[in-house]
Structure formats: C-alpha cells, structure tokens
C-alpha cells in the first residue's frame, strides 16, 4: 500500500474544485485513458488579471486526484505569470510529499496548467514542441530535460517516476540515458558519468587476456625462466598452465594469484578468477 500523507488522503477523499468552469478562459488537457491517468483543467481569469476560478476533472489514482485538487487550490488568486512558476515539486510539497513512484502525478498537474495557459494565450503548448522520446506515454525531450534539471534526476528509473517516460515498452531507455548525460553535463560541466563496465563477449575477453599475457605477464615470467599458457576461459574462470621454471617453483601459486590474477583483474575484468589447470 502506498504511504500517502494525510493531506494527500484529504484531497483525494474530499477533492476541491471538481468539474469544469463555465466560459473558461483556458482549458488544458494532458494524459490519456490508455496510459492510466488524465487531467482536464479549466480556469477563468478575473477582471484584475488574476485566476478567479479553477476546476479539474481527473481520471487516475489517489495521488493524481489529490495533485489536481491541490493545483486548483494553489492557482486561485494568482496572475498567469505567477501560476506559470508553479513546479511539480511545489505541488508535491503542498501535499506534504508524494511517494517517488507517484511524482509523475504532480507533473501531470503542472503540464495541464501550462496547457491551459497556452490555450488562453492561443499559443502552442511549449513542452509538446520537442522531440517525442517516449511513444508509450507521449513524453517529449523538453519535458524530460526539464524534470532532470528541476528535480536533479540521475537515473532512467527516476525519470520514469517523475515523467512516466520509459515506463512502457522501454525502447526509449537509451535515449533517456543520453538526455540525463546531456543535461548533467550542461549544468555542472560535469564530466560524463563513468561508463558502466560493458559486458564483454567471450571472444573479447579471451583477446584481452591474451593481450595482457603477451604484453606484460609472459615477459616477466620469462625473466625467471618460466612461461604461461592460456588453456580456457569459462565465465569468470581463467584456466592457465604454467610452463618452464614455474612448474617446479614453490612460489608458483603466489605468482598465479598475486601477480597473474591481479594483472588480469586490473586490465580485463575485476571478477576474473585464475586457476591452474592440473594435468
């Protein structure tokens, strides 16, 4: 069960301002029935240029309904310029916080507000102008970038929690990762986040091991009259056979673990285990 604050529960069970404003100045619609939540926001501007009335209709879970209700309360009495400044974090804060998996519900509120204001001004919805990244939930790169920036998001999962992008088929995960890197690079001139260790194919692994053996390990062993041969690689297990002087050397096991294995772990993969093949 979700851990909702009392304020979320209150706005869910007793939602404020449900319905549609008659003769609305602006109407904003976001979400879709297919995606599980949707919100229609209508507002009426007073003679003083302030929002006189705001109402919502929402299809969605408790936090979607509570976020919508909260938003209509928050915008009342604001000028459009003031209302435009409301962020999803503000909505979540007003409600005493939302579970992180539910942050996209507050994002939906903010987007509906933007759409309603754009509708009033007769301009296209700014966020919808971007490149469509998540086809499942209709999320653009502009929306994703803004969420990354404003809520300091670092992972694809966080982006999904906040925007829903990437929560369907998952085809856009790579693109979202790119956007995260792009935005983070922009904000702090941050060096590109360290690449995750790539999964090596067996062939790549064997080639790299051979390479380290040839370049560093064999020359060192040969100095003492020994040698080493790669027999097999099975997952993390690297089977080798010691040759020459190494065969009779009492320190050969130490050489194997403290030198060969250490070198291979440093230069190939840090999970490798080197074992000697016994005849």
């Amino acid at each position: 069960m979700w851990d909702y604050t009392d304020k979320v529960k209150d706005h869910f069970l007793n939602p404020r301002n449900v319905g549609e404003v008659s003769n609305a100045s602006g109407t904003g619609e976001v979400g879709s029935l297919a995606c599980g939540d949707a919100l229609t926001l209508t507002f009426k501007l007073g003679a003083d240029g302030r929002i006189e009335e705001a109402k919502f209709k929402t299809f969605g879970c408790a936090s979607a309904i509570a976020s919508s209700s909260a938003l209509t309360e928050m915008v009342k009495g604001l000028t459009l310029e003031e209302a435009e400044k409301i962020t999803n974090e503000d909505i979540a804060e007003y409600l005493g916080g939302l579970p992180k998996e539910k942050m996209h519900c507050s994002v939906m509120g903010r987007e509906a507000l933007e759409a309603a204001i754009a509708n009033y001004k007769g301009v296209p919805i700014p966020m919808a102008q971007g490149e469509l990244v998540c086809e499942c939930f209709g999320v653009t790169d502009l929306e994703i970038k803004r969420a990354i920036l404003e809520s300091n998001l670092k992972t694809v999962e966080e982006v999904t929690n906040f925007t829903k992008a990437g929560g369907g088929c998952g085809n856009c995960h790579d693109r979202i990762q790119e956007l995260i890197l792009e935005v983070r690079k922009d904000i702090r001139g941050e060096a590109q986040a360290e690449d995750k260790p790539k999964r090596l194919t067996n062939i790549q692994k064997i080639k790299m091991i051979e390479d380290v053996l040839e370049r560093e390990i064999r020359p060192a062993l040969r100095k003492d009259g020994g040698d080493i041969e790669l027999i097999d690689v099975d997952g993390d297990f690297v089977m080798v056979s010691l040759r020459g002087a190494c065969v009779s050397c009492v320190a050969s096991q130490t050489t194997l673990k403290d030198y060969v294995e250490k070198k291979l772990r440093e230069q190939v993969l840090d999970t490798l285990i080197v074992e000697e093949e016994k005849a």
């Binding site: 297919a34 599980g36 929402t58 879970c61 539910k102 939930f137 369907g168």
Partner: protein, 405 residues
Amino acid sequence: MSDKVIYMDNNATTRVAPEVLEAMLPYFSDLYGNPSSMHSFGGQVGGALTLAKEQVAALIGATPDELIFTSCGTESDSTAILSALQSFPEKRHIVTTRVEHPAVKNLCENIDNLTGHKHKVTQLPVNREGVLDLAKYEESLTEETAIVSVMWANNETGVIFPVKEMAEIAKSRGILFHTDAVQAVGKIPIDLQNLPIDFLSISGHKLHAAKGIGVLYVRRGTPFVPFMIGGHQEHGRRGGTENVASIIGLGRACELAGKLMQEENTRVKAMRDKLENGLLQTIPNSMLNGHKTDRLPNTTNISFEYVEGEAILLHMDRYGICASSGSACTSGSLEPSHVLRAMGVPFTAAHGSIRFSLSVYNTEDEIDLVLDKMGPIIENLRAMSPFWKSDHPGKVGSSQCKCSC
C-alpha cells in the same frame, strides 16, 4: 479506515484458520525439538511431520513421499523448473503462458542468466476470456521442450486451465509437466492419481495456513535435482531444517480444506455469483474479466470503465473492504496487469479492474454491504473523470500508447 474488516482478497492471502493456529502453537513452545535429532524429544516432532504430509497428500491424491515441503509457492516453482532443465540439459525450450504468476513468468524470462545457457521460452497467448488454445499448445511442443509450466487457475481472474488435457499431451510427448496450483489447491478437487502431472506447487497461506510454507509435489519416478542443497532432510531433496509449526499447520489446513471443499463450491460460489451479478447489473459500463464458468468458485474480476483501480480501492478501504486491482497504479509499474493485457481487455477497462476473492469466512451480510457501497463509489469517481459520458476521444496531445497496454 473502518474498524470492521470485510476481507475479500483471499487470492492474495488468507487468514490462518483458528484450528490451524491451535495445531501450530505447541510447536512454538513445548515441542521445539528438531525432527532430525536422535532423542525421542525431537523424534516425536518427526511423527507429527509424517502426519502432516499424509494430510497434504490426501487433499491432492498424492502419496506422502511424493511431497517436499518448501518455503513458499515461489520456491516450489523455481525448484520444479530448474530441476527439469538440469535433468535434460540438452533440451533448451520451455512452454508456459502469458498469464503466469511472476514466480513462473519472471523466472522463465530470466532463465538464461540463471543457467548461463540460452533458452527458448514460448509464452502461450490466451483469448479475451483468458482461455488457452489447446491446438496452439500442442503445436508449441517440440523435441527440444524440457518442461511445460502452466498454472492450474489464474490468480487474477480465477480462470481454470485444462491442466488434465495439457498434462496428457505433454506426457504423450515425453515432456515433463509442472503446474503452479497455488490458487487451485483447496478450492477445487484435485486427484493426482489420475493425472500425469510431474510437478505441482502449493502455497500454504493461500489455503488458511501460515505464510512461509509451501509444497512441491514430485511424481514418483520423475527425475529430480534439488534446488536447496544441504542436509538430508526430505530425503536429500530439500536441505534445511523443517519449518515444523508451519508444516503442522499446513497439514491441518489441508484437512480442513478437504472438509470445506463442498461449501467452497456451493455457499462461497453462490455468494460470489450474487456479488458478481449484483455489480454487473447495477453498475453501468462494468464487465467481467475471465471465463464465466471455467473459473474458481471464489474469484470474480470486474472492470469498471473510465475509473482507476487504486482510487476505487482506497474508497473501498474507508469501509474496511479489502480487494485488489490490476491497475497500473496499484502495482507501482506504469502498465496494468499483464494478465488483463494478455486477454486484450480494452484500456478503458484494464485500469479500472477490481478482483474480489472470497473464502468460507465471508458472509451474506458482507456481500450486501459491498453491493451497497460499490455503486456510489464508482459513480463518485466517474463524476470527476474527464472521459465519463463525454465524446472525449480518450487521448490527449501526442500520447498514443503504442505499447502493449
């Protein structure tokens, strides 16, 4: 939340029957011996375990030595499937369905990582009523197939699969057959004597025993490779000291389930039908998910269009009514239940599905109360839905939901 709980979520878990608790209690206090011990203080516990195994065996028409106690249904499922793959390492094909419980579904989908080998997994589709196509099943079996794993009854819809026919087909082709029967055992009669099933999984907490106890049935003669390796318990088929109290409780629960089987299929079924018919008749735009008759007697899954499941559940919670939903929001994922999606339930309905699963502890009064409350809850939520009674196309902006939902 209301003080009184109206519990209609018995496919999620059940209350421990008072008789079961009573049977378990001595094994938490006086009778704490280890059944493997040489002394008679421990040995007397061993005798009780033997009786419990007989009680479980009797409910499903097995012999006691064909049963292995495990920690849960999930462990039983994993053990069966991984055992079959190890018994036939040259066979790299699994046949299962798109509507399995995650215990089987996620295992099969991640099997390559566990075994280090590539496997082909066929996930059989179901139709709009959640029913499998036997012809497609037969076509899917090949020389490469190591095991078929098909649930007996679906946890979300209660739909019962033709396990007998499917097991016979597998047998005729020399393929091992596993069934996840955690929802079926105790609710419908099962007689393994007359069924060529190799593996069957049971979960204690689905039939009024404790959580943390399960059973894997392994037919005598079926090749078996243990999953938990350790001591000699269960004749070396599952290491680890027996969960004595829970096993005793499970034995008692199986005995009770056998006695209450008739009631489950008459009184409980009648209450389920009353609830289902009442909701479908009084609430417009509601529909049943799952086959009308090939179904567990206690389960009904109903969709209320244009409203969202989590919101419905939280309103029900105010009256103490406990049920489940297949909506995206209740799962923490962003897509509705994989079962409803596999059945092709339209998205107008998938997000608004509610599963009621009853037990012998429910009463007619409770059904009446739920029937009384559901209408206004749905009406109230629909009143604030932008899609209800509107010509709204159901999508806004660039959302297209090309994905599977």
